[in-house]
Amino acid sequence: MTRIHIKGMAIATLVMVLATAVPVQQLAAQGSSDPEHTLPLTWDRWLDHDEIGERLRLMERTWPEFLTLQSTGTSYGGREMWVMTINNPRTGDEMNKAAMFIEANVHGNEIQGAEITLYTIWYLMENYGRIDEITRLVDERVFHLVPSVNPDGRDYFMDEAGSGARTGHVPVDSDGDGVADEDGPEDLNGNGIIEQIRKYVPGEGTHRISHVDSRILEAVPPGEKGDWVILGREGIDNDGDGRVNEDPVGGYDPNRNYASDWQPNYIQGGSMNYPFELPEARALNDFMMARPNIAGMQSFHNTGGMILRGPGAAWYGTYPTSDIRVYDELGEWGERMLPYYNYIVIWRGLYTVHGGSIDWTNDGLGIVSFSNELWNGGQYFNSPLLQAQRQDPNSPISGQRSRFFFDDFLEFGDQYVEWTPFEHPEYGSVEMGGWKKLAGRVNPRFLSMELFHRNMAFTLYHADQMPLMSMGESTVERVDGNLFRVRVDITNERLIPTITERARQNNVVRPDLLTVDGNVDVIAAGWVPNKFLPGPTQMIEQEELDRILIRSGHTGRTTRTIEYLVSGSGSMTVQYSALKGGTASTTVQLR
C-alpha cells in the first residue's frame, strides 16, 4: 500500500495551495469550464427504491474497479437491502483498511439520507484522481453505503400516499383485535395525498381560522370556543369496528430494535419483541459484525439540524472521558461544517431513545458513531437579518406564516393543498386539505445540493479521522554478542483510537496485536516513556512477547515507542495489527 501522507502534511499542503502553488488538475482546467462529469447526474429529484437501485447499478458499471454493489438481504416486503462498497483494491484488501459505514432512511419518511449516500459515491468517484485529498481518502479507506435501511417504508412514502411511513412493514396488530394492519388511512378523493380532515362545528370546536392568514388553523386558547375540530387523517373505518385508521401498516419504530439498551414496548414504544427481530436491522447487523474493520458510522435521519451521539438514555451511563474527547472534537468540527446544526447527546438534547442503532454500534461494535438529523427550519431563512425579522410578529415570515411565505414565493405553492369539502361515510360533511408529505421534514429540492455536500463532507472528515497505523523510526543497538536492543516508533496518525475505551470495557473489539517475526527470541519488551530521555521502560508482563495483546488499543494522534530485548540474528519484522486501524510493519536488521 502506498501512502505518501505523513502527519501534518495535509494542512501544509492546503496552505501551499492557497498561497502559492496551483495543482496540476486546476492548471489544466484554467481558462475553460469545469471538466465534464463522467456520469452526469441530477440531484433535485427524490428517488424511490427502484430508482435508487438503478442509480447504484449505473455507478457500479461506471466505476467497476472501485465499486461493489451487493444486497445484504431483503426487507420484509422483499426489497433488496443494497450496500455499495467503495474500495481501491490496488491499495489493499478491504478487510485491511478501516471502513466507514454510512446508512440512511431507517425511518421511511426520512428520505434525504439515501440521496446523500448516492451523492457521496458519485462525488468520491468523480473526484478520484482530480482532487488530491479525495484520492488519498479513497486509497486509504473503505466505505460501505446503505441508501435505505427501510426500503418498504421509503416506497410507501414515495410511491403511495405517504402518510405514517416512519415504520417498516412487518405486520403488527396495533389495535389488539387479532388482525394486523387491517385499518390504515386511504386517499378517499383520489388526489394522491393523505390529507387532514376537519369538520365545521360552530362554537364547539378546538380550532379556529387565523385572522392573519385564512390557511392557518390555530388552536383556541383555554376557555374559548373554536369553530373547527380536527378528526385525523384521511381514511375510513375499514374493519367496521367503529374506529378510523386505528391499525395502519406496520406500527413500530425500526430504530428501536437494536441490541444496546433494548427495552420492551412498555418502556420503549415500537421496539418489537427482541433486538434484530426486524429483517432489515438483522441483515445490516450481520453485515457489520462480519466486518470488524468498520471504525466509523453515520446514520442519517431527519429533522432538526443535529449531529447526535449516544448515549440514547441517561441511565445507561455516560461514555468514558477519553471517548467523549474524541466525539467532542468530531462533533464541534462538524458544527463548523454544518450551519444550523448542533452537536448533541441524544437523551439530553433530543429525547430518550432505547435500542437505537448508533448506541449499538458504539457499545456493541466499538464504532465511533453519529446520527445527523438533516435539515433545520432555520435554513428556510438563512441569514441573521431574516432570522431577526422572524421575531417580529407583524412580519410575513414570523410564526406559522413563515411556512406559507416560503411555500408561496419559493416553492410557488407546491407543498400545500387547499381545504375542500368532502362527504365522509362516517364523519358526514367535512373538509380535507393541509400540508403535503414533503413539507417541513424534507428540505426543498432546490436546497438539496448544499445539504448533501455539507453532510457528506462531515462524514468524509469523520472517515478521515478513523485510526491509521504506521511505523516510524526504528533503531537497533547491539548489547553484546547476539543480544540486541530494538526500538520502533508506532503511530496512530488520526484522532480516533484503534479501540475506544467503551469497546475495551465491553471486550467487543479484538485487541491490537504487536507481533515479532524472524530468527529471534524476545527476552523482554516494554514501552519507552520518552525516547529522548534516558530512563526505565514499562515492562510488558505477558507470556507471549512475540504476540503482545494490546487491549486498550492505540490512542489517536500518538506515537509510542516499543523496546525489545532480543537475541538472534538476521532480519526482524515488527508488525502492529489493529482491526480498525489497519496493519503496519517494519523490518530491521540485527547487526
Binding site: 502527519k7 501534518g8 387479532g178 367503529g242 441490541a259 487491549r551
Partner: protein
Amino acid sequence: MQLAGIRGLRAAAGFVMLALVAPGGALRGQATSYLDFDGLTRELRSLVDGSNLATMRSLGTSREGREIWLVEIRNPSGTPVDTRPGLLIVGNLEGDHLVGSALALETIRYLIDQNGGEANLDEQVVYVVPRLNPDGAEAMFAAVHHARRGNARPYDDDNDGRIDEDPPEDLNGDGFITVMRVPDPSGDYIIHPDDARLMKRADAGEGESGAYTLYREGRDSDGDGFLNEDGAGGVDLNRNFQHAYPYYERDAGPHMVSESEARALMDFVVAQRNIGAILTFGHSDNLVTAPNASGGLAGPKILDLPAFADASNADVFDKGVFRTQGRGFGGGGFGGGGGGQPRLRGAQPGRDNDPNSGRRPATTVNRQDVQYFEAVSEAYGEITGITRVGINREAEGAFFQYGYFQFGVPSFSTQGWGLPEPESDEQGAGEGRGGRGGGGADGTDAAVLAALEGAGIDAFVDWTPFDHPDLGDVEIGGFRMPAVMNPPGAELPELGRAHGEFAARLTSMLPRVRIADTEVTDHGGGVFTVSVEIENTGYFPTSLQHGVVSRSVQPTMVQIQVPPEALLTGDAKSSTVQQLEGSGARARFAWVIRGRQGASVEIRVRSQKGGTETATVTLR
C-alpha cells in the same frame, strides 16, 4: 412435608404413584437413563406416532444442525388450536441440565397417556420444547464430562484473537473435568477446617493465610499464563434473553437473542400469543421458593469450589491494558487541530432534558401477582414433594424471566429435583448466604455434598496427587458436576410422572373465558337491547397485573357483529375488559341496536389467554 429430595423423592413419588395408580399404574416405556439427541428424537417420535393427541415439528436448527423439537399436545377435534389457552414447557436450555429434557419427555408421555390428566385437551393445548440446546446436551455424552452450559457457537471467551484455544483437559483420565488445587503461598484459599474436601477463602481477620490456588483441571494450552480460559461452548441460552440481560458478560453472547436456538424459541413464542403460562426446567428456581411478598426471587446459591477455580482467570481482560500515552501531535488528515477539555455536554440551545425522567422496567414480580406464584408454588410442592433446591443460579437473561416480565404471563423455572431436608435446622442455617461468601462446610458446597452423599450419589472426586506437566505437584478433585446438576437416571420415571401431573395442574389453572349469559329485550319498532355476560372460569386472571402494566397481554374483547350504523347507543361495537379475575368473575356488556325482528346476531368474545367463544342471539 418432610419427604423430599433424592431420598425423600422415593417416598414422595410413592405418593404420586398412589394417586395415579387407578388409571393404569406405571406408564409405558419410561426412560431410566438420559438420552442423547438421536435417542430423544426416537423417543419423541414414537410417542407422537402412537397418539393422535400429539404432533411434532422443528422450530429450527441448532448451530451444529440438530433440530429443536416442538411437541404440541392437544385433541385436534376440539376448538381451533391457535386460540386455545396454552402452556409452554421448555427444557434443557443449559446444556448440562439433561434432567430438564428428561422431565419434558416424561411430561409429554404423561399427558398422552393420561389424556391430559387435569388438563382439558379439547379446549387447551400444551407446547413442549424438550431440548432447546441440543448441541450443549450432546456434549454431555462425550467421553469427558465438561458440564458445559453453552451452545456450540465458537466464541473467543478471553478476546485474544484465538477461538476456543484453551479448553480444560481431563488430565487424570477419570472422565470428568474437576478442579486442581496447587500449593501456593500467595494463593487465596485454604482447606476447609471442617471438611478437608472443601476449600474456603483464607480470612486474614481470622489469622488465616492462603495456601492454595485453584484452577479448572487442564493445562495452559495457548501459553498465555491463564489456564482453561477459552474452551468450547459459546453462549448459555438461558442467559441470552431480554430481561435483566447481562450485557457483555461471559457466556451471554454478543447481544440479546443472538443465538439461532434462542431466536427460534422467540419467533415461536411471539407468534403464539395464546400461550398463557410458561414452565421451564433450568438452573434457576422460582417454584420451590416462590417470590417473596415484595416480588423478589430467592437469592442465588452456587458452589464455591468451581467458582474459586474460575476466579483464577478473573483478570484475563486486564492483561494488555496500557495507559502509556506516548507522544501526541497536531492533526493529521484534512481536519486537525481541536483537542482541549471534553465539554461533557450535549444539550442543545433551549433544551436540556432531565436525566431522571423516563420509565424503567419492572425488576420484581408485581405485588398483585405474587399470590398466583404462591399458589402455583404450593401446588408444585404438593405434587412433587420437592421443598429444597441445591443450586440456584441468578436469573440474568433467563427465558422464564422474559416470560413474566415481557411476555406478561405466569412463568416458572425449576431444577426439577431437590435435596432432602437437612437433619436439623442448624445445618441449613448458613445456606441462605449463597455461594459467594466465605463458603465452606456451612455453605452450599457442604449442603449439596451432604445431601447427595446421603442419597448414595457419588458426586465428588476425592483429591488425589497428580504430577502436572507445568505446575508440578498438584491435587485433582472436586464435584462431578453432571451428578450435581442431574439426579440418577433411576429417579426419572417418578420425577417425570410428578412433573407431568404438575404440568397438567398448571394447564388447568389457565384462564378460560366463556359467554355465561345473553339477554335480548325488545323495545318495539325494531329496537333491541342485547346484553352479554362473560365469565372467567379458569384460575388465573385473563391477564396478570404485569401483563396489563407491560401492555403485553391484550384486553379481552367482546364484539357484537352488527354494522356500526345499527348501534344506537350503549357499549362500543368492540368493547374490552383489561383484566377479568379467575374463579368465576364476570363482566357485562350491553348494546341498544336497530334490527329486524327474528334476525340472528352473533356476539364474539376473544381473550388472548382465555380462548374465544361465539354466541348467537335472536332478536325477539
